[in-house]
């Protein structure tokens, strides 16, 4: 399929989303309800990951660094 520009490709992708979720058959206001619910759920997921993933990554890295990388410091005898 040949798309003249990026906007057409995006609208085709939106059409596929409508078909796969079955929203295509619903009335416009129902589509809006579903889209807003889905969008807010995804936004919440993104926000939570933005807030918590750096903290969790740092803690995980510290944990593993202590197990493997921390050995020479503690068992070194002079």
């Amino acid at each position: 399929m040949n798309f003249k520009n990026f906007r057409e490709y995006l609208s085709w992708l939106y059409f596929q989303y409508l078909l796969i979720t079955g929203i295509y058959v619903l009335e416009p206001w129902e589509k809006s309800i579903f889209n807003s619910v889905l969008f807010s759920a995804i936004a919440m997921v993104v926000y939570t990951s933005y807030v918590f993933i750096p903290i969790h990554m740092r803690l995980a890295l510290e944990f593993f660094h202590e197990i493997f990388g921390g050995q020479p410091e503690s068992t070194m005898t002079l």
Binding site: M1, I20, G22, I23, V25, E27
Partner: protein
């Protein structure tokens, strides 16, 4: 040579019990049932080393030899008929090379040409997404029902009145829920009004809806020359010009249009007699009978063949010699109440005549209705699965009727020629072999296959090259290939004479209208070649060419197509609920009229678009249609097939596929 792919699941059933019968003793053994939906690409070639023993043992039986178990292949001749085993042995995992050769060399295949059917399995991702789509739509359905219930929005559909709210609910089952919330949203794809003859091209009335398919309005315009891929017009006889139409007009001038009576009274015209003799000659049977409606042919004649009987003689005996009236009998003290009830039930009105109907899983609603109306026991075998049918036959003969274990009065196997939702053709040689082996009767419904299959257009019996006398009751309709309306039943003279007196349709239904009968007569003569031209042969050849071309092209494009390679009914799988509506609308935008089918005519995730190829379609029309289908397939992402598709960059020829040999 012939490679067979089977995904079989071994199921041990009946544990190897030994059952004794007067003449035959056999032992049921491990059975393997294979799901028809798994990837089965089965090819039977003449004189090939087929791994499946089905045809080999069946043809040996037909050649008069005893059927043998695989392990005792060498001692076959010595056993004779005493130890008979399953006609269709089930594919086993361990096979000795010796028996393979023996089976292959000593048979001529039941099938004279390759029988290739395929029902590709639903891709897992597509199935999951389809269920997800249905789930989301169900949630919205509940939401809308809630709004309707609390009167937040107006309810357009039938619902109980205010005074009936405490009664048993009428509209709560899933069918009604589905109709309200899913079917209504895409309803504009069905019941489209047509305003011309439904030939290769048709005119549609344009309609718009302002309240999302609850009501329609006609704009007054007509969509002209829509390529018709939905009409059952296999030989192109749906036309308003030509020899058939001329003859029908003549007949209208002679007889009028209405008959105003039933066949048994004064509605039996000479044109009906001529039609019936012609149909009998066409099919190769002794006699036939024609009815006004195809659905009524099935639903009214199966009860006449396997139905209830009222046995009046013991009734008269009892009341003449013992009691003077029913009240006296009922009030007499010599029998207990239970005895009286049983007596009345069993002797005066025999509920079941002791007939068994074995019908295919996917039989048409008319056959199911006829079987249910007859009151006989119905057992269902898996679609086109001969092992399942054989198992049912063996169980029926071994165990007899449910409580009394008496033998069944008759066993009727009901199958169709072409199954219109699947596009599959019945395995008729095997069914006939089974029927002869187990002494059952065969009812063949050739609604879609008469006129459309076979080198002479005589239907599925002609397609397989069998003898029409093998099929006890040949039923068919005139709606599809003959461009008329009505149905027929053909068979032996005694059977048809019986049906003339006992069929409900003959007694109560109006007989066929004369112009319709004349249309059938003219079209049948054209097909047989008796009108002197080669039009019939041309159309038959054109239909088979169109079918092969259309199916091949769709397979190459990458769609999932169900069914046999020779059937003119082509189901194309859509699966997702939103794509049902989208496909119908997009095809109409490109001026092609298609029929899309969803639940409840098909299983809920297997919705499809069904094309009916016609001899009236020219190559250009098919090319236009194929181009549009490909375009819509790319737009909606319908090319689900995972078989090896030809990649033009690698330079493969278009005929090759990974699974063909």
């Amino acid at each position: 040579m012939g490679v067979v792919f089977l995904r079989a699941r071994a199921v041990t059933l009946l544990g190897g019990r030994q059952i004794r019968l007067p003449l035959i003793s056999f032992r049921t053994s491990r059975l393997t049932l294979y799901k028809p939906r798994t990837l089965i690409f089965v090819k039977f070639r003449v004189a090939s080393q087929s791994v499946k023993m089905t045809e080999s043992s069946a043809s040996k039986l037909l050649n008069g030899e005893a059927c043998q178990r695989a392990l005792r292949a060498k001692n076959a001749g010595k056993n004779g008929f005493v130890k008979n085993h399953c006609v269709f042995e089930h594919p086993r995992k361990y096979r000795r090379p010796a028996e393979k050769n023996q089976n292959a060399t000593s048979n001529s295949s039941l099938y004279k040409k390759p029988f290739s059917e395929s029902f590709e399995e639903t891709p897992l991702l597509v199935a999951v997404l389809t269920y997800m789509g249905y789930g989301i739509l169900t949630i919205f359905g509940y939401f809308r029902d809630f709004l309707r219930h609390w009167n937040i929005e107006k309810c357009h559909i039938a619902h109980e009145r205010e005074q009936q709210k405490d009664f048993v609910p009428l509209y709560q089952d899933f069918e009604n829920f589905y109709t309200r919330n899913l079917y209504m949203r895409i309803r504009d794809n069905w019941n489209r009004p047509i305003c011309s003859v439904p030939g290769a091209k048709v005119d549609l009335v344009e309609r718009v809806t302002h309240n999302y398919n609850w009501t329609f309005e006609h704009t007054g315009k007509v969509v002209k020359d829509v390529i018709n891929m939905g009409s059952y017009n296999y030989l192109g006889f749906a036309e308003n010009t030509g020899a058939c139409a001329g003859a029908a007009i003549e007949t209208t001038h002679t007889y009028g249009v209405g008959v105003a009576s039933t066949r048994c009274e004064i509605g039996n015209l000479d044109i009906h007699e001529e039609l019936e003799q012609l149909v009998a000659r066409f099919l190769g049977v002794e006699s036939s009978m024609a009815f006004g409606m195809g659905f009524a042919t099935n639903s009214m004649n199966i009860p006449a063949l396997t139905g209830k009987v009222r046995n009046l003689i013991p009734f008269l005996f009892l009341f003449c010699f013992r009691f003077l009236s029913v009240e006296e009998f009922w009030n007499s003290a010599c029998y207990s109440l239970k005895e009286k009830q049983l007596f009345l039930q069993r002797i005066i009105y025999k509920k079941k005549k002791g007939c068994l109907i074995l019908s295919d899983e996917l039989n048409h609603a008319s056959l199911v209705l006829g079987a249910r109306l007859s009151g006989s026991t119905i057992r269902v075998f898996k679609h086109n699965n001969m092992q399942s049918l054989e198992k049912l036959l063996r169980d029926a003969i071994a165990h007899g009727q449910p409580r009394t274990h008496r033998p069944w009065k008759k066993i009727l196997i009901v199958v169709e020629g072409i199954y219109s939702m699947e596009g599959s053709i019945v395995r008729l040689p095997e069914v006939v072999a089974l029927k002869k082996r187990y002494k059952a009767y065969l009812y063949l419904d050739e609604a879609h296959s008469i006129g459309a299959l076979g080198p002479n257009g005589r239907g599925v019996v002609d397609y397989f090259g069998l003898d029409p006398k093998d099929v006890d009751i040949m039923m068919g309709t005139f709606t599809k290939s003959f461009g008329a309306a009505g149905g027929y039943i053909g068979g032996r003279k005694e059977l048809i004479d019986y049906l003339r007196c006992h069929s409900h349709s003959a007694l109560y239904a109006t007989s066929m209208s004369p112009p319709v009968a004349q249309q059938i007569i003219s079209s049948m003569k054209i097909i047989m070649g008796e009108d002197g031209s080669t039009l019939g042969a041309d159309r038959l050849r054109q239909l088979s060419e169109n079918t092969t071309y259309f199916r091949r092209k769709l397979r190459e494009m990458g769609f999932i197509i169900y069914g046999n390679d020779d059937s003119p009914v082509v189901p194309l799988m859509l699966y997702m609920p939103a794509k049902i509506g989208a496909f119908g609308r997009e095809m109409l935008k490109r001026n092609i009229g298609t029929v899309v089918v969803g639940f409840p005519a098909t299983p809920i995730i297997e919705s499809r678009a069904r094309f009916c190829v016609s001899a009236a379609h020219t190559r250009e029309m098919l090319d236009t249609a194929l181009e549009a289908i490909s375009e819509v397939g790319d737009l909606l992402q319908l090319k689900y097939s995972r078989r090896g598709r030809p990649l033009s960059s690698l330079g493969w020829s278009s005929e090759e596929s990974l699974l063909q040999d």
